[in-house]
Amino acid sequence: MSCVLEVENLGKRYRLGGQDRVYATLRESLFKVFRHRPAAATEEWIWALREASFEVDEGEVVGIIGRNGAGKSTLLKILSRITVPTEGEARIFGRVGSLLEVGTGFHPELTGRENIYLSGTILGMRKREVELKFDEIVAFSEIEAFIDTPVKHYSSGMYVRLAFAVAAHLEPEILLIDEVLAVGDLGFQNKCLRKMGEVARGGRTVLFVSHNMPAVQNLCSRGILIRDGRVVFDGGVTGAIEHYTAGLYHTGDDPGVDLTAHPGRRPGRPSWLRYVRLSSDKVATNRIPAGGELEIEIEAEADFGRRGMEFWVVIENEHTQRLLSLSTEFMCPDLVQTVRGRHARITCSIPSLPLLPGTYYLSLYLASAVDAGDAIDGAMSFEVLAHDVFGSGRIPPRGKGPVLAVGTWQLDQPRSGPTTEVR
């Protein structure tokens, strides 16, 4: 196997500050000319990626994992040449294709046919190549009938299908993918995964950035874990995922977690969520018996007069797979609208927690219809303890599915006569 990608001490530094402040105004630059300010002394910098080094061989499928803001997207942006590293080097041997979103370059006014050409050439194909693959692309997208309709009239599903179809036929030697699979309906997602598996089996090299652990586990043989801009694990994909989930959410035995400056808060979100505390049967704890009562008490501080403020509680397993969501939006609309003042204390009760023993994670969201709202992925962890739910003295072991269902069994058999024949 020959090496197709060498990354050596790659690093990227950004200037701190809001998005709007990043570009200079002419006035500032003019002032700089006349007034001698010590450069960079007052400016704050942040390393989004630091000292990343690894090599990828031909045909390897590598999953790049890490929480939001860890630097995975920065790495992908550098490798796809969208942005320039501050230090270090990367050498790529072969043709690179990068998919950082579905539908790059699509224009709503243009027809599907025109967009195939546009998106194809933007992604790096020659016009001739697009021509050759045109029929295949259309067939893959399953939208033959609408190929001459402007894409603004497409449903979002059709749009995604066409966009992915173009990307899937890019056929580069090295493919860089950033979570594009998180879109589209389930059937199409599976089709995309199959196509990616094909790409991988076809001997091409794939770097796949994702939060979707089952997909990473499925597709990749190797995993690179990035935390706070540094590569902290590089090895088998199972090991990488274990490291990721172990270091990610675990908040110990504390039943309550301060959310004010929580590291799991998505970058740029307001700190509305302040505190979360778990309890079971009026006792504060994060160790809940299977099938027992769970109360999630949340404190938040925000302008509740905003449109569409809704609380969300999402329970995930250790592969960050969502198991269940509870939201005021569906369970009690209008409840949040009755909050008086800026401070809210709200409790979500689950009378019988339908989870089997194991470690679980709680993500909290305070959504708003006006802007993105607050979002904390993996705000805290909790344990579900073995408990004699069925009164039988036995409970199912791990690996039988995460969900606990309470129910009964009944056997129907004839009242008399031989039930079994034994010879």
Partner: protein, 282 residues
């Protein structure tokens, strides 16, 4: 013995800038993208407008009518034209065409990078292709508006001669000059948003500093050298002399062509210097 040969190094990613030669070769390898981007702009421009292609003709035509009335008649520029055989309306229209081409190329290119920011943060290609692709629709617009000029010249009984060869020469200069300014302004607009407001104003001012609505002959002789410092002076006069078959002053045209080449080179170099950080700030 291994059969596999190591593929050649295709991309080296590092903090330092790549050589100009490498950049140039890359732009060439992306020429299909230039074409599709240009075609996109042309299609989008004509798809959503009711009048479609008519806009390309109406704009200089209406400007011609206004200028003919105000400058030609009221201010009497008509009587001061160097070539008495030509009516002011034809004269001003034949100047408005190259001017409009320049103004929409430079102006369109200036905002092109900012308005295509979604593209720049998601995929790599030589950034210069975005401002350069503006040339697609400005050239189509120019061709449309030129149809009216042909009709006007033929209706006026004029016979175009060999001087028509000047038109492609002036056109090359206009492309270099418009695209050169446009590329540089596009880079500046990404970096300093002030330019979004400054560019339309600067272009408007430049119209009055260029012999579009008045002939250079109305400018006192001792100030002519200032007029010649404006690269558009020679290009607009050259284009006009070409289509109207009137005497041409060669020196300003050659000066303008040289300046246009320098401007394009400057724009190209400036963008090459700053483009690597666009995705971070756009």
């Amino acid at each position: 013995m291994s059969e596999t040969t190591r593929p050649r190094l295709t991309v080296l990613i590092s903090p330092s800038r790549r050589s100009l030669g490498l950049v140039w070769r890359e732009i060439w390898s992306y020429r299909d993208l230039w074409w599709t981007l240009a075609a996109r702009d042309v299609r989008v421009r004509y798809k959503q407008t009711v009048l479609g292609a008519a806009w390309a003709i109406l704009q200089p035509l209406l400007a011609m009518v206004v200028f003919t009335v105000v400058f030609g008649r009221f201010l009497g520029v008509e009587d001061r034209l160097p070539d008495p055989g030509v009516s002011y309306s034809v004269w001003v229209y034949s100047g408005l065409l190259p001017w409009t081409f320049f103004a929409s190329t430079a102006g369109g290119a200036a905002t092109s990078l900012v308005s295509n920011s979604a593209l720049m943060t998601k995929v790599y290609f030589p950034r210069i292709l975005i401002p350069l692709s503006v040339l697609g629709y400005t050239t189509v617009d120019l061709a449309m508006a030129a149809l009216i000029l042909v009709v006007m010249i033929l209706a006026g009984g004029a016979v175009p001669g060999l001087s028509l060869l000047l038109v492609p020469v002036a056109f090359v200069g206009l492309v270099l000059c418009g695209a050169g300014f446009g590329v540089a302004l596009a880079g500046l607009t990404v970096k300093y948003r002030d330019f979004r407001y400054a560019v339309p104003f600067l272009i408007q001012i430049l119209l009055f500093l260029t012999p579009v609505i008045y002939p250079t002959s109305v400018v006192p002789e001792k100030y002519h050298w200032i007029a010649y410092l404006n690269p558009l002076t020679g290009l607009v006069s050259g284009f006009r002399a070409g289509v109207l078959n009137t005497p041409i002053d060669v020196v300003p045209l050659i000066l303008s062509l040289m300046m246009s080449g320098v401007i394009f080179g400057f724009g190209y170099l400036y963008l090459w210097r700053v483009e690597s950080h666009f995705a971070d700030i756009v």
